[in-house]
Symmetry: C2
Subunit: 464 residues, 2 copies
């Protein structure tokens, strides 16, 4: 699957989802865990001689079966077991993957274009394909574009709450911080004409990425060779994995987006969203386009952008502009951008890495686990007056934080190992861990403060 398919999928599924979903603030897209699965499944199919793209059709079929069963038995009640403990670990994991990926890509550029004094000896024997040649200045320029983009976006975000310029202009600059940053980087990149930087690759028009290998519709019985019948049933196992991934990611994203601090008026419909999302994914696999899930970082960014803060020195959340228009527009824009190839191919890739880094880092703030990790290195007198600080002894709060960090490290190790497919199972294991901890390691009262859905916990004992 190529960029073309991904963009078509994001556009079509995005429009449908925004129109019919119970929680249209969610942004759907192709996420890290799904990519890990697709890569692992591709390797598995290749080494066993199956057609990967046909296997995906059957996985999609089973996905629909599974989701119908789960919804029929009201399976989303399971979501109640996913408490803040698991949510926080998952959100930090996603943010860390975001941040890690940008640095990994930057390091790859540094390896491809090393900092050496003489570039000629590298290039004498090979053909001059622009992607293979080591260029001078490319690595450092990429780094400058990435961090330049990151810092400008970060600065303009802070600018929004500063005191300069009249309010409306300041808010506009703050809201359009990311496009302004990208625009600056394009200008810098164009002004430096004689240095090579990797550009955004956008397909030219609406075609499949590899026209010789496949069409827009995939035959479920094999494209080039027949697909073994037993594999059609065996595909239920990877389907279960994909389902768990989509289930966890979508439900956790829904929980994060609609957490009580945000004061959203509309409720969420777990079952409807899940049914819609997995159904779209199942159909998508027939057309050979990727299945999508609610993208945590993007959804949180979307929700933050729609959040109206109160004015004044200590801004509070006032309300969230809940509507379906912005989601549809985002999806349509993704589709239209296929046709905007001449403009988009001017964007240097590394400027986008800077934006990914910005999204990853800004989505860290607001996660309570992250706040508590920072409290680990904060003296006690500076701790904020919130329930999980004031009602829990400090050392026990730190213990709770450390347990979560250890879970995070284990998940990261699983993600990086060859067992990366098992990631959702390991994530689910945090639920029994939390249940075991309640009562055994921490008192029920302490867990109530640390693992509360709401930032402002209601204390029953205060009524006594």
């Amino acid at each position: 699957m190529g960029v073309s398919e991904l963009m078509v999928a994001t556009c079509v599924q995005g429009v449908i989802f925004s129109l019919f979903a119970a929680q249209p603030v969610l942004v759907i897209g192709f996420t890290g865990p799904l990519m890990v699965f697709e890569e692992a499944f591709f390797q598995f199919c290749k080494s066993n001689g199956f057609e990967y793209i046909v296997g995906r059709v059957w996985v999609g079929m089973w996905l629909i079966v599974i989701v119908v069963v789960i919804v029929a038995v009201e399976g989303s009640f399971l979501v109640r077991f996913i408490s803040r403990f698991t949510q926080e670990i998952f959100s930090i994991l996603i943010s860390l993957i975001f941040i890690y990926e940008t640095f990994a890509k930057l390091i790859r550029i540094f390896k491809a274009h090393p900092l050496i004094l003489n570039y000629e000896h590298l290039n004498t024997n090979i053909t001059y394909h622009p992607d293979e040649r080591a260029y001078p200045n490319t690595a450092l320029l990429s780094m400058c574009l990435m961090f330049g983009c990151f810092f400008i976006a970060l600065y303009l975000r802070g600018f929004k709450t500063s005191t300069f310029l009249p309010g409306p202009i300041r808010r506009m600059i703050g809201d359009f911080g990311v496009p302004i940053a990208i625009f600056f980087m394009i200008a810098v990149d164009i002004s430096i004409s004689d240095a090579y930087t990797q550009k955004l690759v956008v397909p030219k028009g609406l075609t499949v990425s590899n026209t010789s290998a496949r069409g827009w519709i995939i035959s479920p019985f094999g494209e080039k060779k027949p697909f073994p019948v037993w594999m059609m049933f065996a595909c239920a196992v990877p389907a279960l994995l994909v389902f768990i991934l989509i289930f966890l990611e979508s439900q956790i994203t829904t929980l994060i987006v609609s957490k009580p601090e945000r004061k959203m008026v509309k409720g969420s419909g777990f079952h409807l969203d899940l049914l819609l999302l997995v159904f779209l994914g199942g159909v998508a696999s027939i057309f050979g386009v990727p299945w999508l899930s609610a993208a945590t970082v993007r959804s949180v960014t979307h929700a933050n952008a729609l959040t109206v803060m109160t004015k004044g020195p200590r801004p509070q959340i006032q309300r969230v502009l809940e509507q379906r228009v912005s989601g549809i527009l985002v999806a349509v824009m993704v589709g239209v951008s296929i046709l905007m190839e001449p403009i988009l191919k001017m964007i240097p890739m590394t400027a986008l890495f800077g934006i990914f880094l910005y999204m990853g880092i800004t989505s860290l703030s607001g996660i309570q686990l992250w706040d508590r990790i920072l409290l680990l290195i904060t003296p006690k007198k500076h701790h904020p007056p919130v329930p999980f600080v004031t009602r829990v002894p400090t050392m026990r709060m730190h213990l709770y934080t450390l347990i979560q960090v250890i879970c995070l490290v284990i998940l990261w190790a699983v993600k990086s190992s060859t067992f990366s497919l098992a990631l959702p199972f390991v994530l689910i294991l945090t639920i029994p861990l939390r249940m075991f901890m309640t009562g055994h390691v921490f008192t029920i009262m302490e867990m109530k403060c640390l693992d509360a859905d709401d930032a402002n916990v209601k204390f029953d004992d205060e009524d006594d």
Copy 2:
């Protein structure tokens, strides 16, 4: 004159000054305006066939004559006319020169090592002298080192007032922010072995920079050819210029360092400091080493470092550690560093540019004019409750700021033009300008608020 002479001069004069000066918090050094003068005087001597270094001896002689006369008639009463109006313009000018110089040097590196794809064609015809060859990656790496150093130093400065880590550790990291930043940049620079960056040039041992041209003592009657007698008297004119430069820079620096907000206990002795400084300069010129002046940015940095702030969320100045030890140590370290050449030559030049940028930008904050320039783009409701805001109509305050900015622009234009020698005269012209403005453009009351020595103005009319 070379680096060697400058370092010897800074060391010896610094030790003597720190021992005997009335205001030992001042740091003396070679400053921008003096460098502008030396360059202009060098060009003048060269084009008229005089020996520059001999001319300097006579300028030095006249300097001593002038300072004795001025001190004898208590000439420093003139300093009372240098109000905040002139001080602020001068301090911003000095900070801007600092900031401008770093960017000018960076641009020079970019010109010397342009960002091109093929570096071989540049290097085929010339001899391979490392300073003349255009290297790949050098320009961008220099930029990264400069901004890396700048942002680390700036971040660690902010870190000092954050809430992380226990207080003593946090303050230590904050105080040693600049060395930590330089150390990081050295590590980065060493780890990138195969790219060229300009290193700090330190003379090897104690010799004059150009042994063939001169010794350590300059004959006042000409080194290689006789010095014309009429020029011996004519040197009184450049001497007057140098005197005005040293007078203005030292007095203004003294005023800035010992302004009432700082709550310093010891008073300042304008006459003693001036006599000492100019006398040292006059003697220095016999040895062919540069005369020095109180360096504004360095003195303010020094005073800030010695300032003890009260703890708490809104730190206030508590007291200043007034002593002579730190000044002597700084001067001795400068001298010792001649012998530390093997270590110092590892420091990349551009990391130091980052520190200069940091010093220039941090010394901007705290200058009232800078605060008022920022108020130009701040909506009125966010203005702070200080006398120059509350007791003066906003538009009139902005008018006052704009007049100062125009003065600054004129001064900058003079500095950059061929009349740069006239800079001190133009600066002095701001004094009659302010006198004219009082009563004609602004009321005496308004000027009292805008041009107050103290941040907290005493209002006589409030007693009525």
